[in-house]
């Protein structure tokens, strides 16, 4: 299941952005989010979804990029042995 909706909701809450502007292919930079805002947002995602995002840098340009990374980690964490 895609985390896209959670991500959109969190962006509305955290940044006062409008849901209709948060299309999957929306560029984060054009939404007014610079690299620091994105880092802050990813940390909040970790807390909200109880996941650990990879340390290595990943290219994040659009909202879909964020959802893709999160979905990958969630799937990996679900599949990993307890």
């Amino acid at each position: 299941m895609s985390s896209l909706q959670t991500i959109q909701r969190m962006m509305v809450d955290q940044f006062d952005l409008k849901l209709e502007d948060l299309k999957p292919d929306a560029q984060l930079e054009s939404l007014g989010l610079d690299s620091l805002s994105v880092i802050e947002f990813m940390f909040n995602l970790e807390d909200e979804l109880k996941i650990k995002l990879p340390d290595e840098r990943v290219e994040i340009k659009t909202i879909q990029d964020v959802a893709d990374i999160v979905d990958k980690i969630v799937a990996e964490q679900k599949g990993s042995p307890q």
Partner: protein
């Protein structure tokens, strides 16, 4: 050859007003911004009073995106700077941006963020803290935000000299323009340290005022026989300083000329103030302003209401002013706005400049029984309006022995 420096814009966020007009009006009416604090850590404090900036809604000034990177002390600084720049109707040409700088003072910078980080790591065993913690808490954050917002590409320095930080920031900015290194400077200070850790640290030093049993607002009693120490406050003040010729050419409104400044060190004791060091600074500032003691018509004292501090400052004024000491009104506006630490020098210099501008002297409130060793005219309880002021002085005498004195005079071209 040196240049004359004038003050063309003022901005302030303080416990007694969020604009220069509100600030000075409340000072003149003797209104105290000192109160019982409303915080969730109040039970952990032994001394529960302070001078907070109440009803400050960051959402009124900044978007949520901006706020994630701007800490409370920087928020204060940006709001004060916006007022000052608007007040001065300041516009810089392309060529002027590298000739414009910002000097700010702050003691603890982003104290709240620092504290949040420590709580996360040491109390909650969290593996990480807010990612922007460094950028929020660093002492130079406020000055940097001002530099970015107004494209001030000249000098950008944050002074940390305890209670004299922002007086020194203003004085050094004056020197930058006076000696031709800059044409325009934003100068001031910002502090937001009403946090649990910072307040406990000050409590431990046993230098905070005890709460007045009848009225929390009356707890700061400079020069009074029953004074018991300082009250911590928060806020920011920013002044626009300009080369006088530039200001006159563009028809700027001029509050005053920043005529004199000196800073020096007591080199005596880390906390105990030394009248000799303070006297030296006062005399040097007068010399820099080419004024005599009798030319000063009002002194905004450092006046923290500590037992030692008020006496030493009284001695210093007497030594520097001689026979004229008894004639000059001296008031401590800390009695109303509290001690704003890294911002207090600029806040108090602004009070002195506004006094000059309005020909009115704010009082020292809560002064009903003076200490016999403090026997100057401290303008007790009631301000003086309709006085004629031509030059004013503001004193800042800090822990560590750092002293700064600023003098403003009526500008005559």
């Amino acid at each position: 050859m040196t240049r004359r420096v004038v003050i063309t814009g003022l901005g302030i966020v303080s416990p007694v007003g969020k604009s220069p007009g509100e600030f000075f009006g409340n000072l003149m009416s003797g209104h105290s911004g000192i109160k019982h604090l409303q915080t969730d850590f109040i039970d952990q404090l032994s001394i529960r009073i302070g001078a907070p900036v109440d009803n400050f809604n960051p959402g009124e000034y900044f978007s949520k995106i901006q706020l994630s990177g701007i800490e409370r002390f920087s928020q204060f600084a940006l709001v004060a700077a916006a007022q000052a720049v608007q007040d001065a109707q300041l516009e810089l040409s392309e060529a002027e941006h590298p000739r414009a700088g910002v000097y700010m003072g702050s003691c603890l910078g982003g104290a709240g963020t620092l504290e949040d980080g420590y709580i996360e790591v040491f109390k909650r065993d969290s593996p990480r803290i807010k990612p922007l913690s460094v950028l929020l808490s660093m002492n130079n954050a406020a000055a940097s935000h001002l530099s970015i917002k107004y494209r001030l590409q000249g000098q950008n320095i944050t002074y940390a000299t305890a209670c004299s930080s922002s007086a020194i920031a203003v004085g050094e900015a004056y020197r930058q323009i006076k000696h031709g290194y800059a044409d325009v400077m934003l100068a001031g200070g910002a502090e937001a340290m009403l946090t649990l850790g910072a307040m406990k640290a000050w409590e431990a030093l046993r230098t905070l005022a005890l709460e007045d049993p009848h009225d929390a607002g009356a707890s700061c009693k400079p020069f009074s026989k029953n004074r018991s120490g300082l009250v911590l406050g928060e806020g920011a003040a920013v002044l626009v300083l300009e080369d006088a010729e530039r200001a006159l050419k563009r028809g700027a409104k001029i509050y005053a000329e920043l005529a004199g400044y000196d800073c020096s060190s007591d080199s005596s004791h880390i906390t105990k103030p030394d009248a000799a060091g303070q006297t030296r600074t006062i005399i040097n500032a007068l010399r820099d302003a080419r004024l005599r003691p009798q030319d000063i018509h009002y002194i905004n004292a450092h006046g923290t209401a500590t037992l030692a501090g008020d006496i030493e400052e009284t001695k210093a004024i007497k030594q520097a002013f001689g026979a004229h000491a008894i004639d000059v009104p001296v008031s401590s506006t800390k009695s109303m706005h509290g001690h704003l630490m890294g911002a207090t020098g600029a806040v108090e210099f602004m009070a002195a400049v506004l006094a000059l501008h309005h020909n009115a002297i704010p009082p020292t409130i809560n002064l009903h029984e003076p200490d016999p060793e403090c026997d100057l005219d401290y303008v007790p309880n009631q301000g003086q309006s309709d006085v004629k002021l031509d030059a004013v002085m503001s004193n800042s005498f800090a822990f560590g022995g750092s002293n700064a004195v600023l003098i403003a005079k009526r500008h005559i071209s």
